[in-house]
């Protein structure tokens, strides 16, 4: 019997028992649906990460110098303690670092934390507060929508001025002009001199809920208690090569300043967009592993159901098997008939799963800020898994059918 013939036969069997077939392939359908959807979400996040997130958070050809890595997961207690013991980056580190770099490199210093701000008539709200100096706005590509940026003399004097993000403007001055108004940070009034252009969101979290003030202003004390400590230095080159060169020079300067012997490891960390992506890759792996459990469970259940149903089918169709054998069906004809039936069943299940998974991904995409894009490989995997589950779970029942003695099988009551 040809393969095509076997598929035709399988389809007619499935059509003859629509409801039973539907329940049989439900497990596979659900498994594949989750596989497609979960992979689509993870895949979408990954693309997003590469295209937007890294750029928005870090910028191209940009690197940071901090006392501890910013993009890191699963920090052990040990590591944490060692980070805590590290020397902090200090304001007086800035000048030697910058001096060691080629002149076309942009630099900025920043400290940041979530702190409450308020106005005279509004309750305090937590915002991301940045105390900065240098070419912070250029590096971050931040432009004023209204008003202006912080001027060099304001940086130098530590003037009590802030520029605010769109969300802060909307929160505190929903209907009125924000420029020239007062924002209280740690009880100290700051004059708003600029409102930034909208930045959008990352994973649905707004990145417009921020205020920026000069590093020399009193706000810095709220972010780093110890005088002279800063979170880090941001440096931006105009080329990949310039960035790598810059990173090496900064490393040497910092090792010198911290008086590290050649055998000692760095006690500071220099990170690039690459670090952010590596960080993402780690998260992605964990998500994929978590995401695989659900589909795997579905497929396992599906396999058990299919095996069960096929065993029942073999028992119910013993007479048919006997008839077919008496008419000249060989073992392998019967084997392939039941294998193909199981495989067809679960492949149809997988096909439904793919459609539902795509639908689910589309719903996730619409309903949540998470992007989702169906990965072609997951569709291919789903089809292979579908057929595979069928073949594996059909193996035992099919072998039993093929081994039946035609005389015994023919004797079975209908």
């Amino acid at each position: 019997m040809s393969f095509l013939e076997a598929i035709r036969l399988a389809l007619s069997q499935i059509r003859a028992h629509k409801l039973k077939s539907f329940f049989t392939l439900l497990g596979v359908t659900i498994g594949v649906m989750f596989l497609i959807a979960v992979v689509a979400v993870i895949n979408g996040m990954g693309r997003y990460m590469e295209e937007e997130f890294a750029g928005k958070l870090m910028g191209v050809n940009t690197f940071t110098l901090r006392h501890r890595p910013y993009f890191e997961m699963n920090t052990t207690d040990e590591e944490w303690r060692s980070y805590a013991r590290r020397q902090r980056i200090m304001r007086h580190d800035v000048e030697p670092v910058v001096a060691a770099l080629p002149p076309d490199i942009l630099w900025a210093i920043e400290s940041r934390d979530n702190i409450p701000v308020s106005t005279k008539d509004m309750r305090p709200r937590d915002v991301e507060a940045f105390a900065v100096d240098g070419q912070f706005f250029e590096i971050r590509s931040l432009n004023a929508a209204t008003g202006r940026l912080i001027a060099p003399h304001e940086f130098a004097m530590g003037a009590k001025v802030v520029v605010i993000g769109q969300d802060v403007k909307k929160r505190f001055f929903p209907t009125t002009e924000a420029l020239g108004r007062e924002l209280r940070i740690g009880g100290v009034p700051y004059r708003i001199i600029g409102v930034m252009e909208e930045q959008g969101s990352v994973f649905g979290l707004s990145v417009d809920k921020f205020v920026v003030a000069p590093m020399n202003s009193p706000m810095a004390r709220l972010l780093n208690r110890r005088f002279g400590v800063i979170d880090g230095i941001i440096l931006k080159s105009n080329s990949m090569l310039g960035m790598q060169e810059g990173m090496e020079r900064v490393r040497q300067v910092m090792r010198g300043r911290h008086k590290l012997r050649p055998s000692q490891p760095d006690d500071f960390s220099i990170e690039t967009t690459e670090s952010a992506l590596t960080f993402w890759a780690k998260i992605e792996n964990i998500l994929v592993m978590a995401g695989v459990v659900l589909p795997a469970l579905g497929l396992l259940v599906g396999a058990i159901v299919i095996m069960n149903i096929m065993l029942v089918a073999v028992a119910q169709r013993t007479r048919e098997i006997g008839i077919r054998k008496s008419l000249g069906a060989r073992r392998r004809d019967i084997l392939s008939q039941f294998l193909v039936e199981a495989a067809t069943l679960s492949t149809i299940g997988a096909a439904f799963g793919i459609l539902l998974g795509m639908g689910l991904a589309a719903i996730v995409e619409q309903a949540s800020p998470m992007p989702a894009s169906v990965a072609p490989w997951s569709v291919v995997t789903a089809v292979i898994l579908g057929a595979g589950v069928g073949i594996i779970s059909g193996m035992y029942p099919a072998a039993r059918a093929a081994r039946l003695d035609p005389i015994v099988a023919l004797r079975q009551e209908l």
Binding site: E320, G328, R332
Partner: protein, 268 residues
């Protein structure tokens, strides 16, 4: 019983001559030759001898009835002749092939090419149309779909069921079902038509109808072997083999005295 047909019957001497040459393939004309076939079953440690050495020779074109009371071994013999089973000892030649030594898959091939089964319970696939049921042996013979349809349709027409091709078994009467089964048995142009109690599930009118089909096939030259315990059904055959306790107790032309006695005995 009138015989409006006449099929040739091999003589006892001819048969004995063929059976004697153990180990040698019989001449082409002899479609079935068994030499001392035995079949033992192991029933939980106790060995049951269902066949104790059966010598049977059937020439092409013969119409043979195999009779015997239940337990005589006629079902076992039918399974062996039908290549559904292999003997414990002895030789079985079917159409020049030594079937008794064959593997499962080879037997399946022989069933497909050489044997047309007609069962008491018809054994049609309930969900398949008459045409599809008749096509089945051709499917396993690897015949392409177009050719299958053509040959299956022809076989159905041969049993006067051309207009019922697309009906399912449950839409057909018992006689029609059995005729579909006969069409299925004939579609591969088998060496023998092997019928197991073909009228056992039919009323007498329908039985007569089916027997007429067998008769006409036999006169057309089809070798027919029919297993039955009904004497009046067996009386349609031109030769009657009676089994008793796993051995052949008589093997005669229908019109001999011995055969008539055997028929009469079997009828009681």
């Amino acid at each position: 019983m009138s015989t409006h047909y006449d099929t040739p019957v091999s003589s006892t001497a001819e048969r004995e001559a063929v059976i004697r040459n153990a180990g040698l393939a019989p001449e082409e004309d002899w479609v079935i030759v068994t030499r001392g076939i035995q079949r033992d079953y192991d029933m939980g440690g106790e060995v049951v001898h269902a066949l104790r050495g059966v010598d049977l020779a059937i020439r092409r074109n013969e119409y043979v009835a195999i009779m015997g009371p239940s337990g005589s071994g006629k079902s076992t013999l039918m399974n062996l002749i039908g290549c559904l089973d292999t003997p414990t000892a002895g030789e079985y030649w079917l159409n020049g092939m030594l079937v008794s030594d064959m593997s499962d898959d080879e037997l399946a091939r022989v069933r497909n090419r050489e044997i047309g089964f007609v069962f008491q319970t018809f054994n049609l696939l309930p969900r398949a149309t008459a045409l599809h049921n008749v096509e089945l042996p051709l499917v396993y013979a690897g015949i392409p779909s177009q050719e299958r349809k053509r040959r299956a349709t022809a076989a159905l027409e041969r049993v006067q069921l051309g207009d019922r091709a697309h009906h399912r078994p449950n839409e057909l009467s018992g006689g029609q079902r059995q005729r579909v089964a006969i069409a299925r048995a004939l579609v591969n142009e088998p060496a023998i038509l092997l019928a197991d109690e073909p009228t056992g599930n039919l009323d007498s009118g329908t039985s007569a109808e089916i027997m007429r089909v067998f008769e006409s096939l036999a006169t057309e030259g089809q070798t027919v072997i029919m297993v039955t315990h009904e004497a009046d059904i067996a009386a349609h055959a031109s030769r009657i083999v009676v089994l008793r306790d796993g051995r052949i107790s008589s093997d005669e032309r229908r019109d001999t005295f011995a055969a008539r006695v055997a028929l009469a005995q079997a009828a009681h």
